[in-house]
């Protein structure tokens, strides 16, 4: 489903397409309440989706299903930064603070996390 969401998103929006064409990163998403996940291997314009978490990931996002869906609802604001001050953004920020959303590898890969967020965003 996440692969389909990205495909539809980049098809709808040239800016997201540009992000997709520039992104080279391996991103894991683990949905904690169903104990399942995927690895998204972005290779500058192509995406390989694999079940489970594959090694050598740059970033790994761990959250419950609802939070994973809400990540796609983050608005993108000035300079392509995710908006954390509206209702959805505050919810995501609260999950981060509570440890219910964990983004491993974020510190060294903030630009990658922001790009992935933009590619995922349906807003």
């Amino acid at each position: 489903m996440l692969g389909g969401l990205i495909e539809a998103n980049i098809g709808n929006n040239p800016a997201r397409r540009h992000d997709f064409d520039e992104l080279a990163a391996r991103v894991g998403i683990w949905v904690t309440d169903i104990d399942e996940g995927v690895t998204l291997d972005f290779q500058k314009g192509t995406l390989m989706v694999a079940n489970g978490l594959k090694p050598k990931r740059d970033v790994t996002i761990r959250a419950e299903a609802e939070t994973v869906m809400n990540l796609s609802n983050l608005r993108i604001g000035l300079f392509g930064m995710p908006v954390y001050y509206d209702e959805v953004g505050r919810g995501i920020a609260a999950k981060l603070v509570q440890g219910k959303l964990r983004i491993e590898g974020m510190l060294g890969n903030i630009a990658t996390v922001n790009t992935v967020t933009r590619i995922f965003s349906v807003r």
Partner: protein, 140 residues
């Protein structure tokens, strides 16, 4: 009083629940697409024929919800398909619909970015189904 699952009376009560929900009204503002639920047959569960639920939803309200054939539901803008017992799990809160879709237990067809934008509305709609007291054919 409990109604038969996926009957006309169930559809009427479900529609009333949706239209009573302020959460749905607010979360589904701007929604203008039809949604079809395909309930696949499971003869061993006393549900011998597939059915379709056609939901005409518009801007935070349910204009119409009808039970018909699976083919009717498949013509909708968004179609969610699952066997009878999965839908029962959703309606009895055993299975969260968001998780079910992520796991592929409920198959979703339609524009994904649009439906993801309305995640909260979808969740509330699921809540509405749980408020309708139902008599399940496999429990008769």
């Amino acid at each position: 009083m409990a109604v038969n699952a996926f009957s006309d009376e169930w559809a009427r009560q479900f529609k009333d629940e949706v239209n009573r929900s302020d959460v749905y009204k607010s979360a589904a503002k701007g929604w203008k697409w039809t949604v079809g639920l395909v309930v696949e047959a499971e003869p061993d569960k006393n549900f011998p024929e597939s059915k379709g639920v056609v939901m005409d939803l518009f801007d935070g309200s349910a204009r119409d919800i009808k039970v018909g054939s699976a083919g009717d539901a498949q013509k909708c803008d968004f179609v969610i398909t699952a066997p009878y017992s999965r839908w029962k799990q959703v309606a009895t809160k055993e299975l969260d619909a968001t998780k079910g879709i992520l796991q592929g237990k409920l198959k979703l067809k339609g524009d994904l970015p649009t439906i993801v934008r309305y995640t909260k509305a979808s969740q509330e709609m699921t809540e509405c189904t749980t408020r309708v007291p139902v008599e399940w054919p496999d429990e008769k």
